[in-house]
């Protein structure tokens, strides 16, 4: 064997097909509702049909008359199960933040449509559903507050009367900067003042939620199976809420059919099933219906944004001032209050802005709680600054790409300390923009748009830009502490090499579609010089992977993957010591490549990793004092966030007769750092783009003035299909992150962060000469048609 022959195979960077696929493609994968639990009690949840009402009475007699229904339990009946315990909020963003007690099943008053008010137990899923529908609840309606701005109006109805106001908290950044910001605005040549609305969105993963609690009555152990992104966090929280020792609790996330943030939570049904299973000594399960999902699973976004830009005569930004009103909903779920803060660091976008001030006032409304939804704060921030930048370009009289280029943080300025004090790791925003402009053929599109205008065509072309930078890799634990978040941001990994040189990776990161098994295998295989198929990746079960902080915030690769990378290094270090012992050489003289340890300069003196692994297992002849086996554990706490960035360009065709918008081209140039598997990166970007474009054009959780959700099913809530989806054209720019050894950044949310403003800017661009300067999302045919009519002075 020669060195050349054993050069490491580079799996990292290749478009390796996923090892997750076969089980998912054949129906072998087990999702939560697939679990076979003989004798399980089925839970049906009776949900409030009123946005705000006193619960006067609950009549379960009709339900109990149904064959298979065994019990009907009110919030009062269930209260002893959790005592003082309430659903947890882990992010008290200010010391005086209001956090009203949030019981799994309401007592006395229902605070939103969908609020659980009673529970039916039954012996089948059909009986549970029938029973829940048959329970008669007597409500005495109370005044409800539905819209965000109404919540802070004088005389507003109160969601929680005992709090005497609907305000949850006010959180600001750089308040001492106010005078400098005011001065910059006073001196500015151009001032842009915009108000945008982030409509509420229904996350709608294709798999609704579900959970099952299975007790082992003899030993008192409890296993909670849940369609969750966060088995580890869920375990700690369930333990705290119900007082179950963590040593008695195991949480398993089976195959999970998408999350997008909405399964990053601790939900009433999880606590309920655990408490009932413990009390009854029988498995208790619940599967969410799609109709329930719309009103009982958290929603995303829900903000009114006021953003002001101050710029000099050439459009160079001098200051940005942001005021948000953020809708918490009726209660605080796990990280509800923190979501707007994650955006608070990024309203200055990719731009060098000397003066920045941000304030968020959070309010309660009589609607289902909001919480993290793909991007969580960062799409909202990017939307506001990128829409406002287009307005500034118009004011200054330059093209959108020019106003961006003039203000970008420069490549030579990295690492760059942002106004709020974050240190941006790496990037070349100008190069990314140039690449996107060229790929999208912006000049050609503009010529086409001009021709259509000149010809009086009703099919207008619009080109829209969005340049973004986001913070991923949540997160350095000390930074989270400074933000009053209730946990750390590290991730854990264990790497074991078996006697026959197969590798077991245990990760604390919890996949639900991201391809962790494939990517972690590629990382480890390259380092060890083995085949990725010889690596198994274990996850999502606290009995197998006891330590972890799970998956959200595009953290898996940059934090969890880095932990795997480092644990593999640690195993190699131990193997090196054993190899040196076997070869009777000095460790420093050994090189490891292609799975073989060799003595430098003595090519025939070598031992393969397999030989070391077997020696570590037999332990017959290890260096004095060395423990047997090859295994290492690492808990990695990142020193910084990572900062993916990019420029997206949307091209739309708007029919001015009907208001219909077609996405006819979409170009994305992203810098997510080093890519482990470009196939998986592209998939993430595709799906992310459509999810953001859906906010721009289709999706809206519409509530009427009574607080009823009127888009509660997938026929009314318009999750796009293949027909609406554009063909995406992607390129990338790689500026490795210096924060972690692989140079990776993260890509799970980038598409969603970038696309909504790109699409909306394109729609406005198509209509600007008709007098349309702003549109609210979603830019439905009706909204677009109305805007054109109003701009033309016609009927609305």
């Amino acid at each position: 064997m020669t060195i050349t022959e054993s050069a490491p195979a580079a799996h990292v960077g290749s478009r390796r097909l996923r090892k997750e696929d076969p089980a998912l493609l054949t129906g072998e994968a087990k999702f939560i509702d697939d679990l076979d639990l003989p004798g399980a009690v089925w839970v049906g949840v009776v949900r409030s049909t009123e946005a705000h009402a006193k619960i006067v009475g609950i009549d379960g007699s009709a339900a109990l008359a149904i064959d298979g229904v065994t019990e009907v339990l009110s919030g009062d009946d269930l209260a002893p199960l959790w005592g003082e315990g309430a659903l947890p909020c882990a992010w008290p963003v200010t010391p005086d933040m209001k956090n009203p007690p949030h019981l799994p099943v309401a007592r006395g008053t229902a605070k939103y449509v969908g609020d659980a008010v009673a529970v039916v137990l039954a012996d089948s899923r059909y009986a549970a559903a029938d029973g829940a529908a048959a329970v008669v609840v007597d409500y005495e309606p109370l005044d409800a507050v539905v819209e965000i701005e109404d919540a802070v109006a004088d005389g507003a109805a109160l969601v929680h009367p005992d709090l005497e106001s609907n305000e949850c908290y006010t959180w600001g950044l750089w308040g001492d900067n106010a005078a400098a910001v005011d001065a910059a605005f006073a001196e500015a040549t151009h001032v842009v003042t915009e108000r945008y609305v982030q409509q509420r969105l229904i996350p709608a993963p294709m798999e609704p939620r579900g959970c099952a609690a299975v007790p082992s009555p003899a030993g008192g152990e409890l296993t909670l199976y849940s369609a969750t992104q966060i088995p580890h966090i869920l375990k700690v929280m369930t333990s705290v809420v119900l007082g179950i020792g963590e040593n008695k609790l195991r949480v398993v996330a089976p195959s999970v059919g998408g999350g997008f943030g909405c399964k990053l939570n601790v939900y009433a049904e999880e606590i309920l099933c655990c408490a009932l299973a413990q009390q009854r000594g029988a498995p208790v399960r619940w599967t969410e219906s799609r109709a329930e999902a719309a009103v009982s699973t958290i929603q995303g976004r829900g903000q009114v944004q006021h953003i002001e830009l101050a710029a000099d005569s050439e459009g160079r930004l001098q200051a940005v001032r942001v005021k948000l009103l953020a809708d918490m909903g009726a209660y605080l779920q796990l990280v509800t209050p923190g979501v707007p803060l994650l955006g608070g660091f990024l309203y200055h976008g990719c731009y060098h802005i000397p003066n920045y001030i941000f304030e968020c006032k959070a309010v309660f409304t009589n609607r289902v709680p909001t919480d993290a939804y793909r991007g969580a704060g960062r799409p909202e921030a990017t939307y506001a600054i990128e829409r406002a930048m287009d307005s500034l370009a118009v004011a200054v009289g330059v093209a959108p790409e020019e106003i961006r280029s003039r203000n970008f943080i420069k490549a030579e300025d990295f690492p760059y300390e942002s106004p709020p004090g974050l240190v941006f790791d790496s990037g070349d925003y100008h190069a990314v923009l140039d690449k996107a402009v060229s790929l999208a053929n912006v000049a050609g599109r503009r010529a086409q748009a001009a021709q259509r205008r000149a010809a009086g065509s009703s099919k207008r072309i619009g080109v829209g830009f969005s340049s973004y930078v986001e913070m991923c890799g949540l997160a350095p634990s000390r930074v989270l502490a400074s933000l009053a978040y209730g946990a750390g941001g590290w991730e854990a990994a264990t790497v074991r090499i078996s006697p026959t040189c197969k590798v077991q990776v245990v990760t604390g990161s919890t996949p639900h579609g991201q391809g962790h098994e494939t990517c972690w295998s590629m990382i480890v295989a390259d380092k060890l010089g083995i085949d990725p198929d010889d690596v198994e990746v274990l996850h999502s079960d606290t009995a197998i992977s006891p330590t972890g902080l799970d998956t959200y915030g595009s953290r898996s690769l940059s934090v969890g993957g880095t932990a795997v990378f480092m644990a593999t290094d640690k195993v190699i270090d131990k193997a090196r010591s054993i190899a040196a012992h076997q070869l009777e050489a000095n460790e420093d003289d050994l090189e490891f490549s292609g799975g073989v340890f060799r003595v430098r300069g003595t090519p025939e003196a070598e031992v393969p990793l397999a030989g070391v692994a077997f020696a570590a297992f037999t332990a017959h002849d290890l260096p004095d004092g060395m423990e047997p086996n090859l295994e290492a554990h690492v808990t990695y706490d990142p020193p910084n966030f990572t900062f993916p960035n990019g420029t997206h360009i949307a091209v739309v065709e708007v029919d001015t007769d009907t208001g219909n918008v077609d996405l006819i081209d979409y170009v994305a140039v992203d810098d997510c750092g080093v890519q482990i598997n470009p196939l998986i990166v592209e998939g993430q970007v595709h799906g992310g783009i459509l999810q953001g474009a859906a906010q721009a054009l289709y999706e809206d959780a519409v509530y009427n003035s009574d607080g009823q959700l009127v888009t509660a099913n997938l026929a009314d809530y318009l999750v796009p299909s293949a027909v609406e989806a554009p063909r995406y054209r992607l390129e990338n720019h790689v500026s490795p992150s210096p924060t972690n050894p692989m140079g990776v950044k993260g890509v799970g949310e980038a598409g969603t962060i970038a696309s909504a403003p790109a699409v909306m800017n394109a729609v406005v661009d198509a209509l600007r000469d008709l007098g349309v300067s702003n549109l609210e999302m979603p830019a439905s045919p009706q909204t677009v048609w109305k805007a054109i009519s109003q701009a033309q002075g016609g009927a609305s």
Binding site: E20, T26, Y126, S255, R290, I680, G683, V719, S721, G751
Partner: protein, 156 residues
């Protein structure tokens, strides 16, 4: 209870159901074929798509009794006995046309039926043909390319 006989993935199965039992629940709960998923309750998402006498049908909006005597094919019934994947499954794998995989069984079954019914479809035809099947992860591009590949009409 009503007695029904279905031929599911080539095997005849007779069992008793409540007349209102949805086909998807009979397949999942009575026959243990949990590969077919439930994504909604309004025929909107297509996660539950199976073949009934060779044509795609949404099993969440069909009563089991309506399928009495029919041949049903589910995702469990399309790979070869030796474990090699059906060409549509293989194309989904090769094109990275799935992420979380929850919509995948229904999407694959709908695509098989679509390609059989309309050979020679172009991209636009595939997109319209799959309009009744929602995916939240992929943005559809790789699904469309996989179907075109399996149909032998494009996508490499």
């Amino acid at each position: 209870m009503t007695s029904v006989t279905l031929t599911v993935n080539g095997t005849e199965r007779s069992f008793e159901v409540e007349p209102r039992t949805l086909l998807v629940h009979a397949l999942r709960d009575d026959l243990g074929l949990t590969g077919t998923n439930v994504g909604c309750d309004s025929s909107s998402c297509g996660a539950c798509t199976v073949l009934v006498d060779g044509e795609s049908a949404k099993a969440c909006t069909m009563f089991t009794v309506q399928a009495d005597g029919a041949e049903i094919t589910t995702i469990e019934g399309i790979a070869n006995a030796d474990g090699t994947l059906h060409p549509m499954q293989q194309a989904f794998h090769e094109k990275h046309a799935l992420q979380c995989g929850y919509c995948t069984p229904g999407m694959v079954m709908a695509a098989i039926s679509l390609v059989e019914e309309y050979p020679g479809l172009d991209e636009d035809g595939v997109r319209h043909g799959l309009e009744g099947n929602l995916c939240r992860c992929t943005g559809y591009q790789n699904i469309v390319d996989a179907v075109l590949q399996a149909a032998g009409t494009g996508g490499d």
